[in-house]
């Protein structure tokens, strides 16, 4: 009962306009006052919640993506993707997906993809005669690849809260990420055929080759990260710092678009974004005290045991829950508040925590494009100047490809655990 009151009050405050992390602090402090317990340790819990070395990877990966975006590397990636698949039926739709796949190797954020690449992609598609609904929907849908292919901020956070190897998670996301890209491209091919969308003329190998060499330093970023982690030389946090230095170096040597002012602004913006996440992590640290005291994991486990008699049923129930919640609640909140309670239950069902992590991340990424609260839709609507209602309707069929991949990953764990097990 106490848990329901705590959860209900928090949701009421959030919907009433209180920032998500601050609402956690309000409710937790209210609980501490009411129980007359724990108040004097509130700041200690918040500090201890943040005092984690793996968590440092979050601001570092955000910064690396901000540098690469500031340096205009997205233009080179888009041009290279266009030279490769622009001539296929539905050309720019495929380019959109492929550019997102390339960009995801540098950025761990779907919204950085939707905001950074999205503007350029939608403008190019509009110019080529694609309708706004198609352009916006494929831009939002392809952005979900970002957090699946390493690096991934979502996976870093999952790794921290679930105490799972972040390196294993990074590798586990590669196959589902590529599968999502393929599934979206099949969908583009079908839709483009029906609507007779234009295609680019085929580029010469010379042109493709030139654009490839221009993009290569940026395309090598995931190799630096994965190679460093699995050679045992870097921890994921160190790999994130190396990515920052690598991003600065490749710009200094190859692209030469990054100025000191841009670098400073990217660092400044990163601290603000990171502090916004840190507030939620600090709030979750207080919440977790309440969850532990009220035995939330045990209660949730009992609830799931009553409805699920095996791992597959449990995964179906969890996926439905995350999907429905994701329509109304921000993905970050589901990840930090609800997922930590589910991880021990999943392990109780014998589900590999890496497998569970990939499923959760994929489902959360689907949730950022489900209306009414689809963050990727908000971003694409803003950068592409497309009315939100129009986009919210247009996105519905584009949910099918990632949902099919989600079902495949749930049914065949090897899709998520195969690559990590090779590296163990």
């Amino acid at each position: 009962m106490t848990l329901l009151i705590v959860g209900g009050l928090w949701l009421f405050l959030v919907l009433g306009g209180v920032p998500i992390g601050i609402a956690m602090i309000f409710v937790s402090m209210g609980y501490f006052y009411y129980m007359d317990r724990g108040v004097m340790f509130a700041t200690q819990r918040m500090v201890d919640g943040l005092n984690s070395f793996p968590l440092l990877a979050v601001p570092l990966f955000i910064f690396a993506a901000a540098i690469l975006n500031s340096a205009g590397i997205t233009n080179h990636l888009f041009a290279f993707a266009r030279s490769l698949v622009g001539h296929v039926r539905g050309g720019l739709g495929h380019v959109n997906v492929l550019a997102s796949l390339f960009f995801s190797g540098m950025s761990g954020s779907a919204l950085a993809d939707a905001g950074g690449l999205g503007k350029m992609e939608i403008a190019a598609m509009r110019e080529a005669g694609y309708d706004d609904e198609f352009s916006g929907a494929i831009t939002a849908a392809s952005s979900l690849i970002g957090p699946l292919v390493p690096p991934s901020i979502t996976m870093v956070l999952y790794g921290v809260i679930a105490n799972v190897s972040i390196g294993q998670l990074f590798l586990g996301g590669v196959v589902p990420g590529v599968l999502c890209a393929v599934a979206l491209m099949i969908m583009v091919y079908i839709v483009a055929g029906r609507r007779n969308y234009p295609r680019d003329p085929r580029r010469s190998w010379g042109e493709v080759n030139t654009l490839f060499w221009k993009s290569l330093p940026a395309l090598l970023t995931p190799m630096v990260i994965i190679g460093g982690i699995f050679s045992g030389y870097f921890s994921p946090t160190e790999a994130a710092a190396v990515t920052v230095i690598y991003a600065i170096l490749i710009d200094l040597v190859f692209y030469r678009e990054l100025t000191f002012r841009r670098l400073w602004d990217a660092a400044y913006e990163t601290t603000v974004t990171s502090a916004s996440i840190a507030t939620i992590v600090a709030g979750v640290s207080l919440f977790s005290f309440i969850f532990a005291r009220e035995q939330a994991p045990q209660q949730i486990a009992q609830m799931f045991l009553a409805i699920a008699d095996g791992p597959l049923m449990f995964l179906i129930a969890v996926n439905l829950m995350i999907f429905i919640l994701g329509c109304f609640i921000e993905a970050l909140v589901i990840l930090l508040v609800i997922v930590p309670i589910l991880v021990p239950v999943a392990m109780g069902f014998g589900i590999d925590p890496v497998h569970f992590g990939i499923i959760v991340v994929l489902n959360l990424m689907i949730s950022i494009m489900t209306p009414p609260m689809g963050m990727a839709l908000f971003v694409v609507s803003q950068v592409g100047n497309i009315p939100y209602q129009k986009l919210a309707r247009a996105i519905i069929p584009w949910l099918i490809p990632p949902i099919i991949v989600l079902i495949l990953v749930c049914t065949f764990p090897i899709l998520a655990t195969g690559l990590p097990s090779l590296m163990r």
């Binding site: 209180v18 920032p19 700041t43 400044y268 601290t271 507030t279 990424m365």
Partner: protein, 159 residues
Amino acid sequence: MQDQPKYSVEGVIATILFLTLIVIVMLQILGRTPLIQGPVWTEEAARWSWVWMAFIAIGEVERQNKHLRMAFLAEMLPGRLRKILFTGIDLVYLGIMGHLCWIGYTQVERTWSHSSVTLPVPNAALYASAFVASFFILYRIIRRIAAGRSGETDGTQVL
């Protein structure tokens, strides 16, 4: 929020701490090469820099009113009622932050005699981050209430 200065004191301090953090982590990596003898304090110093950076930057988040929020129900309220609601939220926030500031101070006192594992300072230096940051946050909330800007937000989008 166009008429606000681009940078703030707390934002600049947090950014310097963030850049310091990168240098420390790089030092940790280079410390494992034959090039230099790696110091033992790098991991703890990096964590502490992050905690300080995160707490201090919350002041800047408050200044820009950029906390992650989902105020779609509140957005449906008429303008004046919404303003009253958000001002009320800020007043409660101010009260709780004031109390957290005091708790932060007592935490510093409690941990003054506990030494850090690798750094030559007491653990209080870590917990002081919340105490110091609370002044920036309180200042920003008070300024926001005084300027009648409660509830104006762009919202940070992360994942």
